[in-house]
Symmetry: C2
Subunit: 338 residues, 2 copies
DNA sequence: CTGTTAGCGCCTTCAC
DNA sequence: GTGAAGGCGCTAACAG
């Protein structure tokens, strides 16, 4: 059942049917004809072919979304936000998972381009991906979301992770801690370098000691958090009285390590996480965490993509969300004299 | 840069280029020509047009994925599993969110059909959606995943929620509880009716009292869990000594309500959740929960879709995963004499 | 307001 | 092993 079939059934031209069924063009057609066409289309069970339309129109109403790992619980709200924003224009997200592999990202971005997506939102970029993404942006709009690419002119929707790191540090310093440590995420991902820099600089500004090696996680997982916490506490030097984990998963790993050593949190050691994940307020102890507005970032990225599609070539400003810290029971003043 | 451009550049026919660049057809072409074509394509930056190919080939290498709500943390692993399975055939998921609205689902399924997706995986069906989905299945393969449609002949990939409900009941009964209650999810979603039936029947078989109204949640959220727990405990009759919440979010709501009433879990009341969500083992108290293998279900659904695409018309069996219960500290024997 | 024409870029015959 | 031709279904441009 094609446009032509409907047209022949009615004794009109396919173009007329095409126009009558397009809400944006129906006004060009006699109202009575529009009704007849709609009725016939309904009656015959006609369903337009979006693929053929996309080929002709040179637009697919589809936005490629590149993510590192869908299993990471913090990415779901981002996709949710993107889908919400796109739904306003009846556009749909086409998901590609890189599994945090730059080769796969390059392949995926190219594949999305060959699928003629109207824009690409990259929520899982690593520094090394900059060239590939900037090249892609000469073909279709590319929005960098969640994970920034320092120095890149690509439009972006980010969260100020540097400020978030500083927030964590200042919170601990205000509680009276003077020996802090970090459990760092991978240093080729913008979020984690920014969290690190914010934390480190705030410590330096306050003249507070930063107890930590140069080590960092290969992935920001619970296991890596546990490993780094173990390494930190195995050090012969004085233990820190407070720890900043670069995300909640790593914080949970650290918590497990603390527990296995008989260290009580926050009595013996305070802990701050990042993301303010859904149930993190109900762990034992409820975790102090820097909030990450994933759904808002996703929605803003989706809207930005829509704007870039609408006014191709025009410059559209990116946006940066500001962090807030949720203080809970995992942070407390240090024990006197420790 | 089209196929034709590459062909003209080389002085060959577009068909030859098309064949040379298709791994499955390259063997029909002189090896030397294949090399020349590949080199030229690379050199000229040719990128095939997947849209045009899809129109001609009548296949899009795309699978529509219909979900209720991406913000529900339990759906992320399912999509992850689907994406993993599809990636094996270089297919991509196109996501549509119904927001648990049947009209939106009907619209979305139709839209996906007009986009000529090669299959649709529905992970968010409600009973009322059966007709729409069966109609869609005459056009393209439809796989029902996660939420079943009792009585429907559509191929499905599910988890045995009935057995899961029974598992929860038997665990509590073995601990010695004799007055149980349920916090039920929406009764037009297959998972929750099945959990209810399994729980209820296991109680009946054991001759154990089921303290509970006919009430159930409108959505399976934390707030609804809290509301139902409040209603349950407001009843004048004897309180139950153990509660089965139909998912972890509802369990967390119940936990909050218990706490606000000064009821300690598991001392005063035991609690079982469902899904075994990522951080649920670290809440206070660590929650006993029936595990839901979301990623496995998603991967099986993706594989099933691929099979249905490959052998259209052939019957392919669905599959059902069996539940397991993770026992943690939120369940304990009842206080003697209570 | 409606019809005619001409492709969008590709792939699959069919012919040689 | 390669070329020529046709058409997938739609819509934009141009006439009338």
């Amino acid at each position: 059942m094609t446009l032509k079939d409907v047209a022949e059934h009615l004794g009109v031209n396919a173009s007329t049917v095409s126009r009558a069924l397009d809400p944006a063009k129906a006004h060009l057609v006699n109202a009575a004809t529009v009704d007849r066409v709609r009725a016939a289309a309904q009656h015959l069970g006609y369903r337009g072919d979006h693929v053929a339309g996309s080929l002709r129109r040179r637009a697919t109403a589809t936005v490629g979304v590149v993510v590192g790992d869908l299993a990471n619980p913090f990415i779901a709200p981002v996709i949710h936000g993107i889908a919400r924003a796109l739904a306003a224009e009846q556009m749909l997200p086409l998901i590609f998972e890189t599994q945090d592999d730059s080769e796969r990202l390059a392949w995926g971005v190219n594949h999305l381009l060959s699928r003629r997506v109207d824009a690409i939102i990259v929520a899982g970029a690593r520094f090394g991906d900059r060239r590939v993404l900037e090249a892609a942006s000469t073909v279709t709009p590319v929005v960098v979301a969640v994970r920034g690419l320092p120095g890149s002119p690509l439009p972006h929707v980010l969260h100020d992770d540097r400020a978030g790191g500083a927030l964590a540090a200042r919170h601990l310093i205000e509680l009276g801690h003077t020996r802090l440590a970090e459990l760092r995420g991978p240093m080729d991902i913008g979020n984690f370098t920014a969290r690190h820099e914010g934390f480190r600089d705030a410590c330096r500004d306050a003249g507070v000691e930063l107890v930590s090696g140069a080590d960092f996680g290969t992935v920001p997982s619970r296991d890596e958090g546990e490993r780094l916490a173990r390494a930190l506490l195995d050090q012969a030097t004085d233990h820190p009285t407070a720890v900043f984990a670069h995300n909640d998963l790593m914080a949970l790993g650290a918590l497990a390590e603390f527990r296995s050593r008989g260290l009580s949190c926050p009595h013996d050691i305070s802990l701050v996480g990042y993301n303010d994940s859904p149930t993190i307020d109900q762990v034992d102890p409820p975790l102090t965490s820097v909030a990450y507005p994933g759904a808002e970032v996703g929605e803003a990225a989706g809207s930005l993509a829509l704007q870039l599609i609408a006014r191709t070539g025009r410059t559209v400003p990116g946006s940066v969300f500001h962090p807030a810290i949720q203080v809970r029971a995992s942070t407390a003043p240090p024990i006197d004299g420790s």
